[in-house]
């Protein structure tokens, strides 16, 4: 695929890095020639220095041949202008814009084909905030991701001693919770994927991925992990874009404290966040943390825009007695250093928000993608089309599918008629051998190794005779 990325900031460069590794033809545009040069030294891509809102610059970037435009500069206005230009002058099929301001999103009529021609808009800060909200709601989970407009969740959880299912074979899940349907899609044991069968016994320490209807995820968590004390008190280090969004979204249900180092910013937040306590100070200051009862915190989230600060604040909070600690860490090497025991959850912001973009790069009608285990694995939601003769999967039982080892179907979401999933009529069908795939089904697959994605795409695509 030919892809033009506008903006070589944190979002743009991490997207470029990920997409380059998948044999795409990438051009990155930015005003900053030095930043581009560094990117080019590291990655096999083309760069263009210039203002991404200008037609001449976009032409130089090869937009006339591009399949996809990813406009992720710091400026919403530049991104919007580039999308409109891409549509009018270059007929680029798919245009994605990063929009940080909620203002534009509140007016979808501005974004459609008569307006700025934005096919998809993304706000990485909001995606990360939503991700964090799930972890606050389900403290037992490592990850809670959504498919099919939220009807199905993919949950990652560490199996612990004392969880009722731990020590039992996977097949016992149905007996343990008879009215709940869930599918264990993958198990990682000491970081190695094992393909679960009915006989696989769950062991303490296993990282288990399962799919279930949203309403059922709690019961399954209890089986694998036991029940933790619910989250009540939260401390957020960093009142930036993500920290303030998260405080706004959670302050009605939890006791929220926000620590912000910039005095003016702290004052502004104090005025706008009515349900949170905003503190002006340094989250790596142990006196401040102690004075604010860090040992009573159910969750400490280090969300500043500085990796080192997040790591130090997180480690400090952990040692001072915060029950669970989570930190945003952009640099992969840092995340690797801090595996498992030091911080409870290290989150790579780029990793979380890349899924929305990957869904546009995957071949076939892909509704959603989540990148898992730092890009090593992937979960995809495919919409299948055609019939017995034009599709390799429609009309077949799941057991009869010819999927490579390491790939499994976890669930199918089926709309009642031609309605979209949002109509409330869709049914969640958890995978079992005799389930037969129908046209327009949303098939949710777990792919244990990224290298298998290509094969899965080909297998689920329609054949030549599909009109």
């Amino acid at each position: 695929m030919k892809i033009v990325i506008l903006g070589a900031g944190q979002v743009g460069s991490s997207v470029a890095e990920r997409l380059v590794s998948e044999a795409n033809d990438i051009t990155v545009v930015d005003l900053d020639a030095r930043g581009l040069q560094q990117l080019q030294e590291r990655l096999d891509l083309r760069t263009v220095t210039g203002n991404a809102a200008l037609p001449s610059v976009l032409r130089e970037a090869g937009l006339q041949d591009a399949d996809l435009l990813i406009a992720v500069t710091q400026s919403d206005q530049t991104n919007l202008c580039a999308c409109r230009t891409a549509a009018t002058l270059f007929k680029v099929p798919t245009k994605i814009a990063r929009l940080r301001s909620g203002d534009y999103i509140r007016h979808p009529e501005l974004l459609d084909d008569n307006g700025f021609c934005v096919d998809f808009n993304i706000c990485p800060e909001q995606i990360i905030t939503d991700y964090l909200i799930k972890l606050i709601e389900f403290p037992e989970a490592l990850q809670v991701l959504e498919f099919a407009d939220g009807l199905v969740s993919l949950v990652a959880v560490r199996a612990v001693e004392g969880g009722p299912m731990v020590g039992h074979p996977v097949a016992d899940l149905r007996e343990h919770i008879p009215r709940i349907d869930a599918r264990i899609a993958a198990i990682y044991r000491k970081d190695q994927p094992i393909t679960p069968t009915g006989d696989t016994r769950l062991r303490p320490g296993d990282e288990v991925f399962y799919l279930a209807a949203r309403r059922d995820i709690r019961q399954v968590l209890n089986e694998l992990h036991g029940r933790d004390r619910p989250t009540r008190r939260i401390m957020i280090a960093g009142g930036g874009n993500i920290g303030s969004r998260l405080a706004t979204a959670t302050q009605d249900r939890y006791q929220v404290k926000v620590i912000e180092i910039d005095e003016d910013r702290a004052k502004a937040l104090g005025a706008s966040l009515n349900g949170s306590l905003v503190l002006w100070g340094d989250a790596t200051d142990e006196n401040l943390l102690n004075a604010e009862n860090i040992e009573d915190m159910d969750l400490f989230l280090a969300l500043t825009n500085d990796d080192e600060n997040n790591i130090m604040a997180g480690l400090l909070a952990k040692s001072l007695g915060a029950r669970r600690v989570l930190a945003l860490i952009n640099r992969r090497a840092y995340a690797d250093l801090l595996q498992a025991d030091r911080l409870d959850i290290a989150i790579s912001p780029a990793q979380i928000s890349i899924g929305t973009l990957l869904a546009r790069v995957r071949r076939g009608d892909v509704a959603a993608v989540h990148s898992l285990r730092r890009g090593a694995a992937e979960a995809l939601e495919f919409v299948v089309h055609g019939d017995m003769s034009t599709s390799k999967v429609i009309g077949r039982r799941l057991a009869a599918l010819n999927l490579p080892d390491g790939v499994s179907v976890g669930a199918i979401v089926r709309a009642s008629s031609q309605d979209s999933l949002g109509s409330g009529q869709a049914r969640v069908l958890i995978a079992h051998d005799d389930l037969v795939i129908e046209p327009e089904d949303h098939v949710i697959l777990f792919v244990a190794r990224k290298g298998l994605v290509r094969q899965v795409e080909r297998y689920l695509q329609v054949g030549l005779a599909y009109f």
Binding site: D65, A66, K91, R363, L464, Y466, F467
Partner: protein, 149 residues
């Protein structure tokens, strides 16, 4: 084999300088919409793209058969492009495409259209035909080869 209306010299592009799948589909859409009273190149381009997204129509051996349904056409419409250099088309065999035959069919696709598609696929499976199409130096030559079988 072809009905005389399926393809004409006017809807054939020879030796075109095209560097991408996107431009190839755009060019085919323009040829298909040319001289047709009711259809617009942009709509055709969108429909070809949509179909392509569900699965590549790259057959292998440098051949592609992009196709789509469109409610504004009453009979099957074809266009053909030979490019000067192959473009990356995400084809089954990974080979770049330099010969593409596009088909536009009425909304109610039937057995006839499937047969036409099958006929084209079998025509292009012949190495002799492919090399004659690659050697052709004008739209008229290309049309002659296409109709020769």
């Amino acid at each position: 084999m072809f009905s005389p209306d399926l393809i004409s010299e006017a809807r054939i592009g020879c030796g075109m300088e095209i560097a991408s799948k996107k431009r190839l589909l755009e060019t085919l859409a323009e040829l298909l919409a040319k001289d047709h009273p009711r259809i617009q190149a942009e709509t055709v381009f969108e429909r070809l793209l949509e179909r392509e997204r569900l699965g590549s129509t790259g057959l292998g051996h440098g051949i592609a058969l992009p196709h789509a349904r469109l409610k504004d056409v009453t009979q099957v419409l074809g266009a053909f492009v030979q490019t000067s250099k192959g473009v990356d088309y995400d084809a089954a065999d990974g080979e770049p495409v330099d010969l593409a035959f596009a088909l536009l069919v009425p909304e109610e696709a039937n057995e006839e259209h499937l047969q036409l598609l099958a006929h084209l696929a079998s025509l292009f499976s012949k190495a002799g035909i492919r090399s004659r199409l690659r050697e052709a130096a004008s739209a008229a030559d290309l049309l002659e080869v296409l109709k020769s079988d």
